[in-house]
């Protein structure tokens, strides 16, 4: 790496950014799981679970 770039990279701490990104993904994960398991989607996803069986296949 260019020595000037290296000096620049070492002179700043990105700990706060790492924390922010981690927090963002945790919130995202919790929200996503909440959506997947929310009662209003229960019926829809139970129907989806049967899609392989109702695919008009040849069995």
């Amino acid at each position: 790496m260019n020595p000037l770039l290296r000096e620049a990279a070492e002179s700043i701490s990105l700990g706060w950014l790492a924390g922010l990104v981690t927090a963002f993904f945790i919130v995202w994960f919790v929200a996503w799981t909440w959506w997947a398991f929310s009662p209003k989607n229960k019926e829809k996803f139970e129907e989806a679970a049967r899609m392989p069986l109702s695919d008009g296949g040849d069995s």
């Binding site: 993904f25 994960f29 996503w32 799981t33 997947a36 398991f37 989607n41 229960k42 829809k44 996803f45 139970e46 129907e47 989806a48 679970a49 049967r50 899609m51 392989p52 069986l53 109702s54 695919d55 008009g56 296949g57 040849d58 069995s59």
Partner: protein, 501 residues
């Protein structure tokens, strides 16, 4: 009744199914809209390349146990046949079953024919031509020397062209689907199509010097990081996500049960693909890679246990209510062992990614054992189960030798156990002897050959395990060949006789 399972779909009755308004009524779908010829082509290629790839594997296992088996010829030495084995079983055997399963299941899940029959055929013949090119160049010693990415640059470019053709056909089919909801298996297929394209292009970037030689654009630690970002995601997105797609389609079909928790499958998919892509650095622990990047790889590898086991449990729990059929149905036997080995190897993997364990396991045969518990156990058994399930659907005939499928199952299972257990033992012996020091702080076994000598019995056991697995695969090929021949000759089985009328 058995014969009804293969009856004409238009007369098939599904009294207990819920058909939401947004889905086409399944009883109105005509089987003839699907392109099953391309499925049969990929199916045949899977069986043939599977036998070839495993034969090369048994050959190099024999070479490690008994070196004269390298025949003293440059083309048949371990260094050239080993990449031939890995390329054949990953890209030919596993690749072709992924395409078999994708072409079969996505047409049915989306209730539409593949977007273009012509592109399907170009994909098939192009992919087989690439495999033949690999089988010629690798024994000749033409290689880029990147693990699982050995193929030289002209073949790399051919892979990109054929993959793009497959992707156009894939997304064209998705765009013209007749069903609103995209089933979870298709999401896994999407991650396979996109991620493999990105991984292959980025890792194979090179400046060609001659027709056969090129220089990679990366060097040193960057090269190693890109290589293992590719290498581990070849495991993640070539040998895991498309096979999870197969699991989410073929396991419920074979068990005739809905997916245990579709909501879990959504969380399973997104967490798995999000975590997998960061795990490559666990191949570079104690290397020149910056410490934080190594730690990142370890942390993501350990976290990967959660979605992996979520998927395993979702697969096994889908069988609730159908466990009694595992006793009699070889297809379900294969699936149960496949998903169990998926669980075992996805526990082993995160454990081996931890620094302390890695310092013992790295570069030993334990890694080979781990890879094969995933490859023989998960990928191979999923493939066999899917193939056996597809035979009567694709050729309208029951297996000629149904008991031979059960024999295949037991040979394969015993083979995997012999293989993995012998490699664990060999790996632990190597790892412990390499690091052992005497009271003066010197290496206790400074001569490499002293340690290599200890591995002989384990190499013998591994050869036996691999041989059993290979014999099982040959039996399957023979069984399927005879069944297809009987189907073409028009000889119905007793149980299929009514369905054929």
């Amino acid at each position: 009744m058995m014969q009804d399972r293969y009856a004409d779909p238009q007369t098939t009755n599904w009294p207990d199914l819920v058909n939401p308004m947004e889905y086409t009524n399944p009883t109105t779908v005509d089987e003839s809209v699907y392109d099953d010829d391309v499925v049969r082509m990929f199916f045949g290629a899977t069986v043939i390349w599977g036998v070839v790839g495993m034969l090369v594997g048994v050959t190099i296992a024999l070479q490690l146990a008994w070196w004269p088996a390298n025949l003293g010829l440059p083309w048949t030495t371990f260094g050239r046949l080993r990449p031939l084995h890995t390329n054949a079983v990953i890209f030919a055997f596993a690749g072709n079953i992924c395409f078999t399963g994708i072409y079969y299941s996505m047409q049915r899940l989306l209730k539409t024919r593949m977007w273009s029959d012509r592109l399907s055929r170009i994909h098939f013949w192009g992919w087989q031509a690439i495999i033949v090119a690999a089988a010629i160049t690798l024994p000749l010693g033409l290689t880029q020397s990147k693990e699982y990415a050995e193929l030289i640059w002209p073949i790399d470019i051919a892979i990109v062209v054929i993959w793009v053709i497959f992707a156009v056909n894939f997304f064209g089919t998705l765009a013209t689907r007749k069903v609103k909801h995209i089933y979870v298996a298709i999401w896994f297929y999407i991650s396979f199509v996109i991620t493999i394209a990105v991984l292959h292009v980025v890792n194979s970037l090179a400046i060609p010097a001659t027709l056969f030689r090129s220089y990679p654009v990366y060097s040193g630690m960057t090269d190693a990081l890109v290589q293992w970002w590719y290498g581990h995601n070849a495991v993640g997105f070539f040998l895991t996500t498309p096979f999870l797609g197969l699991m989410y389609y073929f396991l419920p079909r074979a068990a005739e049960r809905p997916v245990y928790s579709y909501r879990l499958s959504i969380v399973h998919f997104w967490s798995l693909v999000f975590l997998y892509i960061w795990t490559g650095p666990h191949h570079l622990l104690y290397s020149g890679l910056p410490d934080w990047a190594q730690t990142l790889g370890v942390v993501f590898s350990v976290m990967l246990l959660a979605p992996s086991w979520g998927g395993m449990l979702n697969g096994l729990l889908t069988l609730r209510g159908a466990w009694h059929r595992v006793r009699t149905d070889p297809v379900l036997k294969f699936f149960v062992v496949a998903v169990s080995f998926y669980g075992m190897s996805t526990f082993e993997g995160p454990m081996m990614a931890i620094r302390a364990v890695n310092s013992l396991a790295h570069f030993t045969n334990w890694v080979i054992g781990h890879v094969h518990s995933g490859a023989l156990g998960w990928v191979g058994m999923m493939t066999f189960g899917t193939l056996y399930w597809l035979v009567p659907r694709l050729w309208k005939r029951e297996l000629v030798y149904p008991n031979m499928a059960t024999t295949h199952f037991w040979l394969a299972t015993i083979g995997i156990v012999l293989y993995t257990v012998s490699m664990w033992a060999a790996g632990l012996i190597e790892g412990l002897m390499w690091r052992a020091v005497n009271e003066r702080g010197l290496l206790a076994s400074p001569a490499f050959m002293d340690i290599a000598d200890r591995l002989d019995p384990f190499y013998g056991l591994r050869l036996l395990g691999g041989l059993l697995y290979f014999i099982g695969a040959v039996m399957m090929a023979w069984n399927i060949y005879r069944t297809v021949a009987a189907s073409r000759a028009g000889a119905p089985t007793p149980s299929a006789a009514t369905a054929a009328s």
